[in-house]
């Protein structure tokens, strides 16, 4: 079809004065000739004098007509009749009801017993007049004292009164695992209470000293709590150069340039100023962006200025350099970033970057291997859902739910919208298959936040879980079929094809109705069952203990060698048993403002052994390992091998 390039090149040769721009014009003209040779030739001779591309497109002898102005109307607000409300038999919104009397009990709510219910999250007032009061905070699972048991870091928010010194600042919690099913808040002693308007947490060993550190994002300056190896931390964010200063959200750690040092990506949400609070009106935010279903609510994020994203390169000396522009991940349009994740989506051994954006297109940046990224958001299929809608993306879960060696992505989104599941088609291409997978319609009334792929039943197929809760308290005042507080959702993976919702049995963890935000998953009791912790807006956290899994399992703690990050963030691991090859990746971040267990957990079904463990280390090294048995957590060290098996803790089991 395209014949012109040869002609165009010939034109350059024949006419030394025909510069590159002229050539480009000619190419365009020649292209147009294929549609309309008439208009092309008549203008081509004039191209040098009129290098305007559009020039060639004007049909000769046809006077341009003015574009009819669009009609204007008066007043009003945005339309968009929402989905019909879904209610259960007791007329409760399905998000706060729909329970069943009996069924499989997956999670037991052990928050009270574990000692977490003495801690309360607080963010703004219950009226939620401003968007800064609505998004809530995250959870980080961290073995901060290297005792082999996961501890829990819970980010807290703040209030305007606290900022003004009129009331105490809400404290973040660091819950030390007592190995007996209980936890003790040691945040004050450890020096990690934050005392700022806390949003997210990303955990990793950024200085490769073998001790995990904590990065806390805030509205305000962020903190980097360096682990002092003695149960305390020191905030080194200023010295490290990673404080930023406005509204940072779900950060992620990853060694994008392969130098063995973990780099840090920090999404920005809205640029929010205390002395310029958003309000609707002629001089403020358009009314449309301050209403939901015709009801006045807090303004934003649409209509508000976006806060840019930042990539910090780890200099290896305790400092970082902002390379956002150079790496081409600076978020020039100012999309509303909420979560991010470094992970290798195209299996080329380099960490790519996902950013979940609220009400704006998501980003997928492919790592080019030269210190820069290529924005393939639209081309990959990840920017929008399958129907072309920009979703209000909150959290990212990445996992190989089909066991084909490629990481799929699940994003949580707003109510009235389904939650897209992006199937990895290879080479950085994704297809939203939420409807085909059976999780679209059922997820519509829920407003999802933290999420994770987790194999709750250890059958070897990764399931999906998300925490839910609305941002508008008004949801409880109108028959919208949704609610401020919502139950979490768990979807069972039907062997890589469809998912089905696990029923919320009354009295169990899945029937707990809270305004969920951050979610982290991990084996908190070292018993081979994946548990879940949820940070609830203005409420008590949930510790949902897995009491369901019966199958065999294998836990892996990875330690990187000299050329990899010490905590092996970025490693991809394939475990083969029978004819199944599962994949999991060591990552930090993803789930809304949260970090899950850094150890990898493989459900094995009936298998009592694994035939191969294949580790793709961040350094590029590929190693195969074997383990003496399953139902244990083993440590694998790059270049060294397997050591230190931990079997389910007797104390923990006895306490159940």
């Amino acid at each position: 079809m395209w014949l012109a390039p040869t002609w165009g090149d010939a034109a350059i040769t024949a006419s030394p004065t025909f510069d590159r721009s002229h050539n480009e014009v000619c190419r365009r003209i020649l292209a147009a000739m294929l549609q309309s040779l008439c208009s092309a030739l008549l203008v081509c001779g004039l191209a040098g004098a009129f290098p305007d591309v559009a020039f060639a497109q004007v049909a000769p002898g046809m006077p341009p007509t003015s574009v009819p102005p669009a009609a204007t109307g008066t007043g009003g607000e945005a339309t968009g009749p929402p989905r019909p409300g879904q209610f259960d038999s007791q007329h409760r919104p399905i998000t706060a009801g729909g329970f069943v009397a009996s069924g499989p009990v997956v999670f037991e709510d052990v928050s009270e017993k574990a000692g977490l219910q003495h801690w309360t999250h607080k963010m703004g007032t219950s009226q939620k007049k401003y968007i800064i009061e609505t998004n809530g905070s995250g959870i980080g699972l961290i073995d901060y004292d290297n005792d082999g048991w996961l501890d829990i870091y819970i980010v807290n928010g703040s209030t305007f009164d606290a900022l003004d010194g009129k009331e105490p600042s809400p404290h973040a919690g660091l819950f030390h695992n007592n190995h007996d099913g209980t936890f003790t808040d040691v945040a004050a002693k450890a020096g990690v209470t934050n005392d700022r308007w806390g949003v997210g947490v990303a955990i990793a060993d950024y200085d490769n000293d073998g001790w995990p550190d904590i990065y806390v994002t805030n509205w305000g300056k962020n903190r980097l709590f360096h682990n002092n190896h003695d149960g305390t931390f020191t905030d080194v964010a200023e010295k490290a150069g990673v404080t930023l200063g406005n509204w940072s959200t779900g950060a992620t750690w990853g060694d994008y340039d392969g130098d063995g040092q973990l780099d840090l990506f920090v999404p920005g949400y809205v640029h929010f100023e205390r002395n310029n609070l958003p309000s609707s009106g002629p001089n403020g935010v358009p009314d449309t962006f301050c209403s939901f279903r015709g009801v006045a609510v807090n303004c934003g994020p649409r209509g508000l200025k976006g806060e840019p994203d930042h990539l910090f390169h780890n200099n290896g000396d305790g400092t970082f350099t902002d390379v956002s522009e150079k790496a081409r991940v600076a978020d020039k349009p100012g999309y509303y970033g909420l979560s991010s994740l470094f992970v290798d989506v195209n299996n080329d051994g380099k960490l790519d970057l996902l950013v979940a954006d609220d009400s704006t297109p998501n980003y997928l940046y492919l790592n080019k291997g030269d210190g820069t990224f290529e924005d393939v958001s639209y081309a990959s299929g990840y920017a929008l859902n399958e129907a072309g809608r920009e979703t209000a993306s909150m959290g990212i879960a990445a996992g190989d739910y089909t066991n084909n060696g490629k990481l799929d992505i699940f994003n949580t989104t707003f109510s009235d919208d389904y939650k897209p599941l992006y199937r990895n088609e290879g080479e950085g291409n994704f297809t939203d298959i939420s409807y085909q997978a059976g999780i679209a319609e059922i997820s519509v009334p829920f407003l999802g936040w933290g999420d994770a792929f987790l194999d709750y039943d250890n059958d070897g197929w990764k399931d999906l879980m998300m925490a839910d809760g609305h941002v508008y308290p008004q949801a409880d005042q109108y028959p919208w079929g949704t609610s401020w507080a919502q139950r979490p959702m768990l979807f069972h993976n039907l062997k890589g094809g469809k998912f089905e919702a696990v029923p919320a049995v009354e009295g169990t963890g899945l029937a707990r109705v809270v305004s969920g935000r951050g979610l982290a998953a991990g084996d908190l009791f070292n018993d081979g069952k994946i548990d879940v912790v949820i940070n609830a807006m203005d409420g008590r956290p949930l510790l949902l203990r897995n009491v369901f899994a019966k199958n065999h399992w294998l836990g892996l703690k990875l330690v990187g060698g000299p050329k990899s990050p010490r905590d092996a963030v970025g490693a991809a691991v394939y475990v083969t048993e029978g004819g199944t090859k599962q994949r999991q990746d060591v990552a930090s971040g993803g789930s809304y403002a949260s970090t899950s267990d850094p150890r990898l957990h493989f459900g094995l079904g009936d298998a009592q052994s694994v035939s191969d463990i294949e580790v793709h280390w961040p350094s590029g090294k590929l190693e195969h390992f074997s383990v003496p048995g399953v139902d244990r957590i083993v440590t694998i060290t790059e270049g060294t091998g397997v050591s230190g098996a931990t079997k389910p803790g007797a104390q923990s089991s006895a306490n159940r």
């Binding site: 549609q35 309309s36 669009a70 649409r302 299929g381 920017a383 072309g388 919208d417 939203d432 409807y435």
Partner: protein, 173 residues
């Protein structure tokens, strides 16, 4: 260069009338052209709804006639709002079997899960009057998603919504 022009001229002499009548030189409209043509707030029935201009797409011909559209910002992030897209049509258009006169339209869709298609409905923007319903089929040869893309007729002659497409044909006046 001169030789090339002469050759082109000969070709043109024979092909010009047919070519022009058939295609009218519709091409992809530039961002500036779209911004000039599409409203920042679309009048829909008795309301004025914000448009998401970064999603605007369209084609333009030699008469500066535009066929373009953009996503409407509907309240509450609704994926299946009654109207999701605004369309400005300045030349008769057959869209998925429905002939649209020059005018302003709005479009919404619902997903047919069984058929794996979008069922789109076209309405007159000023009155909300239903013009008709059309089916957008899944595009299988590309992963690229678009909020809205009206491809130039010499390339694909489709309107793409997400990963679904509706064929169109610009009708001669």
């Amino acid at each position: 260069m001169l030789k090339w022009v002469r050759v082109s001229g000969l070709l043109l002499f024979f092909v010009c009338p047919l070519s022009f009548a058939q295609k009218g030189a519709w091409r992809q409209a530039t961002a500036a052209e779209l911004a000039a043509a599409l409203p920042s707030r679309a009048s829909v029935e008795n309301e004025r709804i914000e448009t998401e201009m970064r999603t605007a797409s369209g084609i333009i011909d030699g008469h500066k006639r535009v066929i373009a559209g953009t996503v409407l910002i509907t309240a509450g992030y609704s994926a299946e709002g009654k109207y999701s897209h605004y369309l400005l049509v300045q030349a008769r258009l057959n869209l998925g079997g429905i002939v649209l006169k020059p005018g302003q339209y709005v479009m919404g869709w619902t997903r047919d899960e069984r058929a794996d298609v979008l069922k789109a409905h076209l309405n007159e923007a000023a009155t909300g009057r239903l013009i008709g319903t059309i089916v957008a089929k899944r595009i299988t040869d590309s992963n690229r998603v678009e909020s809205l893309r009206i491809w130039p007729p010499d390339e694909k002659s489709i309107m793409q919504i997400g990963r679904f497409s509706i064929p169109y044909k610009v009708m001669e006046q």
